[in-house]
């Protein structure tokens, strides 16, 4: 469906080039929900913005390809890109709750997106909005309301309806539930799951929250400091994670099931500054298994099982444990 191949996106900063995304590759299969996971500053949002070519001006794609329907999106003109954006690939932004225009009724905002992407009549727009509102669980009667008349969860439903308005093939959702309360979050995740089947979309879900991935995704790409460290089916990732970072991250999530007596573990240290010199394996320094080779030789993303890839020199040794 979509192939990201050796993508490098750097930011120009006063401290020098910041290698936010440095050689990232993964596939999005048709019909799947792929989780792109990592902590702050791992480059996950930069990957998304590179795909739809909406990077801020200080950022630049320095290399790689993004293949979609046989074309490299990075080689397209801005004009051609406009047809792809929203029409073929749409995005639900982080902080979506604040990205609706407060002075326009919501139906106008959805109509705007549709009209920009093809000749549609008013009646068609109306019919689509009714269908979309029903699909996301909103009362179509409320289409003329303004954003402030909706709750946070409902606004997120509107954003999802908007992302589906032009029948995209791929939807990228950047932290779609982060600002929502747990119960509403659960409702939105269920909604996304049913819409995927109903609208036959493929989806990239960007999140820092592994539990969101566990609840919704089919596969996950784990990123750390601008690199992919592990890719796998979610059963592989959650039941037998291989990369030391994935393992440590899973262990540090406070779990309800774990008795209070058991110590919570955490990852000592912090993410390296990507504008400065970094060790060859970027997790070196925080990794309990780190050795000299990790400092000098960058680990390749090796295929470990038919459905998984890991970038660690010691994956064989680790997966035996």
């Amino acid at each position: 469906m979509l192939r990201v191949d050796d993508l490098r996106t750097f930011y120009r900063t006063r401290q020098g080039l910041l290698k936010a995304v440095d050689g990232v590759s993964f596939n999005l299969e048709k019909g799947e929900i792929l989780g792109l996971v990592g902590e702050s500053a791992c480059g996950k949002t930069t990957v998304a913005l590179s795909i739809i070519r909406l990077l801020p001006s200080v950022a630049e794609v320095m290399g790689g390809r993004i293949l979609f329907q046989g074309d490299d999106l990075l080689g397209k003109t801005e004009r051609a890109m406009r047809d792809v954006r929203w029409g073929k690939i749409s995005i639900i932004f982080q902080g979506a709750l604040n990205s609706l225009n407060p002075v326009l009724p919501v139906k106008e905002q959805i109509a705007e997106a549709m009209k920009a992407h093809g000749n549609v009549t008013g009646a068609e727009v109306d019919a689509t909005i009714t269908r979309l509102f029903k699909a996301v669980g909103l009362d179509p009667e409320r289409r003329s309301n303004y954003p402030h008349e909706f709750s946070g969860g409902m606004k997120q439903r509107i954003m999802i309806a908007m992302a589906l308005a032009c029948n995209p093939e791929i939807v990228i959702a950047d932290e779609p539930t982060t600002a929502l309360d747990v119960i509403v979050q659960r409702q939105i995740l269920e909604l996304i799951r049913t819409l995927r089947d109903e609208f036959h979309i493929s989806m990239i879900l960007i999140t820092h929250d592994l539990s969101v991935v566990a609840q919704l995704c089919d596969r996950a790409v784990i990123m750390y400091a601008g690199k992919v460290v592990e890719i796998g089916d979610i059963h592989r990732i959650f039941e037998s994670p291989t990369h030391p970072y994935t393992r440590a991250l899973l262990k540090s999530i406070p779990k309800m099931e774990v008795a209070k007596t058991r110590e919570l573990s955490y990852i000592p240290g912090s993410v390296p500054d990507l504008a400065g010199p970094v060790p060859a394996c970027r997790f070196y320094g925080r990794c309990p298994y780190g050795q000299k080779v990790c400092q000098d030789v960058e680990p390749r993303l090796d295929q470990t099982y038919p459905d998984s890839f890991v970038a660690c020199h010691f994956w064989r040794h680790l997966s035996e444990r």
Partner: protein, 335 residues
């Protein structure tokens, strides 16, 4: 684990209410009755010295408003709060100032709560200077370096001249903790102190908070929406819904044998990495109603599967176990 605190209450909150009036146009005001947002709507809690009490609930449940009243940042519409036996709202300015040094807040966003133009030394020494708690520069310097090592920023001297932007999120939250601790308060009020931090460092900060509590004999009021975090840090837990406490009890009991259907739903909706729990039904529908139109009777009634006629009468907190109370006519701790 039952509360480690002694029985002497440090804080008594009684029938506390905070209603915010909704501003209306003049004409509508003449025609209709005044409307209010019932942010906190009758809360009674006692806090024991040395305990960590978690206040959990979704946004808009009133947990932050409650904390703001405790800090006397807002005045209540009704009700009282006593701190060490003294009525907080009967104090004059001088007395208030003095009592405030005994309670310190730590906020959610360590990026916004530290002045970007001040050095770490200036930030942490400010409460000392404002309250005239140090005689000279040397004493101030000593207090600041001591508290920096308590919060694990070592060596302390290397941090004094740094600015917040030079620190990571976890380090900033340690500075915020140090600023709260430096004047030796007896109570710290945390408002979502770890929710902005990356998962991999969250546990480290939570562990530090527990350590400091023991070391300095502190009492914690811990506001969070995350039940897993609440269970980790607290001795007792109070669950709030639409301005009321619907369940309160020892943290372990509330989490393992919840009695109120809302607490149960919150626990079921808790994000989990357990793949087997994918798509489980959480048993409630809809969203929290807005706090201007509180449902009659039990506030949770419109969303509750078990509601029956009696629920039209507002339920009070009733004992369901040891030190464990729930506001429900059909409490069920069998879960």
């Amino acid at each position: 684990m039952i509360s480690r605190g002694s029985s002497e209450p440090l804080i008594i909150i009684k029938d506390l209410k905070k209603w915010y009036p909704i501003r209306k146009k003049f004409l509508t005001k003449l025609r209709a009755e005044d409307e209010y947002v019932h942010a906190v709507d009758g809360v009674t809690i006692e806090m024991r010295k040395g305990e960590a009490l978690a206040l959990v609930g979704e946004s808009g449940c009133g947990k932050t408003t409650l904390a703001r009243m405790l800090l006397r940042l807002v005045d209540p519409t009704e009700g009282i709060i006593t701190f060490k036996g003294r009525d907080l709202f009967a104090l004059n300015k001088r007395e208030l100032r003095k009592i405030r040094t005994q309670m310190q807040p730590v906020f959610q966003d360590p990026y916004a709560s530290l002045d970007p133009k001040q050095t770490i030394l200036q930030i942490i020494s400010e409460p000392l200077r404002v309250n005239n708690l140090v005689k000279d520069r040397k004493q101030m310097f000593d207090r600041v370096t001591a508290v920096l090592s308590s919060v694990g920023l070592a060596p302390p001297k290397s941090f004094l001249d740094k600015f917040p932007y030079e620190l990571s999120g976890g380090q900033r939250q340690r500075v915020a903790l140090a600023r709260a601790l430096v004047i030796q308060p007896s109570l710290i009020i945390f408002d979502e102190p770890v929710s902005m931090l990356d998962v991999s460092i969250r546990a480290e900060i939570l562990g530090l908070m527990l350590k400091l509590k023991q070391e300095f004999g502190l009492t914690y009021l811990f506001i969070t929406h995350d039940l897993a975090v609440a269970r980790y840090i607290s001795d007792r837990m109070a669950v709030m819904y639409l301005g009321r406490v619907v369940e309160i009890g020892p943290a372990e009991d509330v989490c393992l044998t919840p009695a109120h259907p809302y607490t149960k739903a919150l626990l079921l909706a808790l994000p989990t990495t357990d793949l087997e729990k994918r798509g489980t039904d959480i048993g409630i529908r809809g969203e929290v109603p807005d706090a201007t139109h509180i449902p009659a009777g039990c506030r949770f009634r419109p969303r509750c599967q078990h509601a029956f006629e009696k629920c039209m009468i507002d339920p009070e907190l009733k004992r369901v176990g040891d030190d464990h109370y729930a506001a429900c006519y059909l409490p069920d701790t069998s879960a």
